[in-house]
Amino acid sequence: MSVPLQAGMESGVKPEVGEVTPAMEAKADDLISRYPVSKRSAVLPLLHLWQETFGYIGPRGVEWIAKKLTLQEIQVLELVTFYPWFRQKPYGKFHFRVCRTLPCALGGAGKTFATLQKLMNLKSDGHEGAMVSEDGRFSLEYSECLASCGTAPVILRNDEFHQAVDEKRATELVAGCK
């Protein structure tokens, strides 16, 4: 497994495309206003906002947020790489997260994951993080416990939560990606 020259950034990722709209600025300012004591508390909400807008958090996102909150870029990068929800490169239009923790594993999460991987034609490259299809349509990764162990196995398809996702249901969910 290759080791990067310097830790922190995914190599070869293009900067985010698109502009920060006035609406986005306003939303950001509203989020910041919820933390009157310290602007820095708004960094997680702003990271969510940026990722939801641009799909991932690249150097532009880190720098915009650092500037907005009067932080150093490293203080933002530290968080992007600490919290698994944030990604530094674009994922698929349909991003699947399959819980792999014990109750879901007992419920057959492994089979669910294998089914999805096969349907999406994905190959692991040994790195942490999601596998992304060549055409950018699908991406797939494991997640830790999603707090619905009674209906294992559970997955997230983008922001949709799905329960009891066996191989049959997994196939349906992929087919339903339009």
Binding site: L5, Q6, A7, G8, L77, T81, F82
Partner: protein, 564 residues
């Protein structure tokens, strides 16, 4: 200077009873257990703790066994036969760095539990650590190495794949980072953030993959970055300048002073066989705490510059030829006799030591020369250690009556041109051409003497060039911009035939006036102590390794060089 000083108690006189390894003793309340152990000559090993940085308690190496007084039913401590509280020991170990002592606390630094804690942390630190000792600069002063002798095992039980991380990161202009060696103590991050106020370092990723880095594209280049190399307990952060140069156990360590500016940070010179390999800061809470700036730290390579003057030079037929010291001194004395005292000007450089300046002052008094001054040099002042005065001994020149802050010097160019000045003596290697005296003026002088360590455009015009000793090559004292008298000790010999200035001035004086009663630095001090009020009652020994405050620090950091 530092936001934290854990090695100093809030009130050193507020003493309480604590028991350390079975022995009751008195220690200042609130001091942390690592410091208490240190003061009672016990060692509690640690990595992340540092007396000048915030406490984070993440290495877990300083775990100790803690006990508190057993409380009776009356809610008072149960007393043992010796009148001291009986101690109830807690099963869960505590970290010493974050535990402030309270009355009756029991501390065990060498119980079976404590040993197992240390063995555990040691083993954990070594499982992913690369076996780099043979190529790692830190060897010989590495805390991991040191503690592994006592708390490690000869064999490793780890048979899995080690975590791999970037190994040769160009972190900054002067620093290389090896992330695999890093034990994530965060000292460097805390230093940058808390002491220098430059949040440039951080940890990315999570868990065992946590990695130290700067933001890609941003460099770890602040003026104090190399202090993190001192702080790093392992060889993760290394100085590009020192990397692979010399094994530290070969270095002879000499206590001295940095002479790159008026602050006079206390340093240790590391040398071997006559060559200086590195400077490191020496702790002095009254001057520089445990830090020094990168510029001063690296400013020693001039010692073996190719421009170094090794032999006396005499001018003849438009060129300079090497000569003997005897010839040089004789020629210099002859030159001085050619010119009247009121036609002489002397540059008493603020790079000279007090002792050298004292002997010079004697000579000038005996010759009747009054036109003397220093050359001001502007430094890069910052809010921390660097002074606006780049001269290391401006105050010394003042105290010895040889300075007008450069005011007089500023007039000499014109006075040479008008013929008022016919002879110029330059000490301290001052390049007066660069300081504003035209070449043509110097060429018109009857006698031009130059003493310095490097040849420059001024020295090349001199009639006599006397090769001098650099600060690493001489023993002497200086007064910093805050009024502190400090001493430095010679670490390496002068190259070639170069000599300390005070010996050449002494010889010059003997040749000129025949007088000499000063044979050693101690002799000089006896005389200085009686003539300079600020030095009264002092001698070489009394200055000590940490210096003496001889004047009130006016609180002015001497942003600009002195202007009388």
């Amino acid at each position: 200077m530092n936001p934290w000083n854990h090695d100093v108690a809030k009130d050193e006189k507020d003493l309480i009873d604590v028991q350390v390894d079975g022995v009751w003793m008195q220690m200042p309340r609130g001091l942390n257990v690592v410091e208490v152990a240190h003061r009672s000559k016990k060692v509690i090993p640690h990595y992340c703790y540092h007396p000048k940085l915030s406490v984070v308690g993440n290495c877990r190496m300083c775990l100790f066994e803690m006990g508190t007084p057993k409380m009776g039913p009356d809610r008072k401590p149960v007393l043992a036969a010796d009148g001291k509280p009986e101690i109830a020991w807690m099963p869960r170990p505590q970290i010493g760095c974050a535990t402030g002592i309270t009355p009756g606390m029991g501390i065990r630094t060498d119980s079976a539990l404590v040993k197992d804690c240390r063995n555990g942390v040691m083993e954990f630190l070594l499982i992913n650590h690369p076996l780099d000792c043979t190529i790692c600069d830190q060897a010989g002063e590495c805390k991991l190495q040191e503690f592994s002798v006592e708390y490690g095992t000869g064999e490793s039980r780890f048979v899995e794949q080690k975590v791999r991380k970037p190994k040769n990161v160009d972190l900054g202009e002067r620093i290389v980072l090896d992330d695999e060696r890093c034990i994530l103590c965060s000292r460097c991050i805390r230093f940058s953030s808390e002491v220098v106020k430059d949040d440039v370092l951080g940890f990315v990723n999570r868990g065992s993959h946590s990695t130290l880095t700067a933001y890609p594209g941003k460099r770890f280049d602040n003026a104090y970055s190399l202090n993190t190399v001192d702080l790093c307990p392992v060889g993760a952060l290394t100085s590009k300048d020192f990397r692979f140069q010399m094994r530290v156990w070969f270095l002879k360590e000499t206590k001295s002073l940095c002479t790159s500016c008026g602050t006079g940070c206390n340093i240790t010179l590391g040398s071997r066989e006559g060559k200086v390999h590195r400077l490191t800061p020496r702790e002095n809470e009254s001057v520089n705490s445990q830090w020094m700036c990168d510029f001063g730290r690296l400013n020693f390579h001039y010692l073996d510059s190719k421009d170094r003057l090794h032999r006396p030079l005499l001018r003849a037929a438009g060129e300079q030829f090497p000569g003997t010291w005897g010839d040089a001194i004789q020629r210099a004395a002859e030159g001085l006799k050619k010119v009247k005292p009121e036609e002489l000007a002397v540059v008493a450089s603020a790079r000279l030591t007090n002792e050298e300046l004292f002997v010079l002052a004697r000579l000038l008094r005996e010759l009747g020369v009054t036109r003397v001054d220093m050359v001001p040099h502007q430094g890069q002042a910052d809010q921390f250690l660097r002074s606006g005065d780049a001269n290391p001994n401006s105050r010394g020149v003042e105290l010895l009556g040889l300075s007008s802050g450069g005011r007089k010097f500023g007039t000499w160019g014109a006075e040479i041109a008008s013929g008022k000045i016919r002879g110029l003596l330059i000490f301290g290697g001052e390049d007066v051409v660069a300081a504003g005296i035209p070449v043509s003026a110097l060429q018109s002088l009857d006698v031009l003497l130059f003493s310095g360590i490097l040849s420059n455009q001024t020295s090349r015009l001199a009639h006599v060039v006397l090769p001098a000793a650099a600060s690493a090559e001489k023993t002497g004292s200086m007064v910093n911009v805050h009024g502190r008298l400090q001493r430095m000790t010679r670490a390496v010999a002068t190259p070639g035939e170069a000599r300390e200035d005070w010996t050449m001035i002494r010889d010059l004086r003997e040749a000129c006036t025949g007088g000499n009663s000063l044979h050693s630095v101690e002799d000089v001090w006896k005389a200085m102590g009686s003539e300079v009020p600020q030095f009264a009652g002092l001698n070489w020994a009394k200055i000590g390794d940490l210096g003496v405050q001889i004047e009130n620090d006016l609180g002015v950091s001497r942003e600009k060089p002195l202007q009388a």
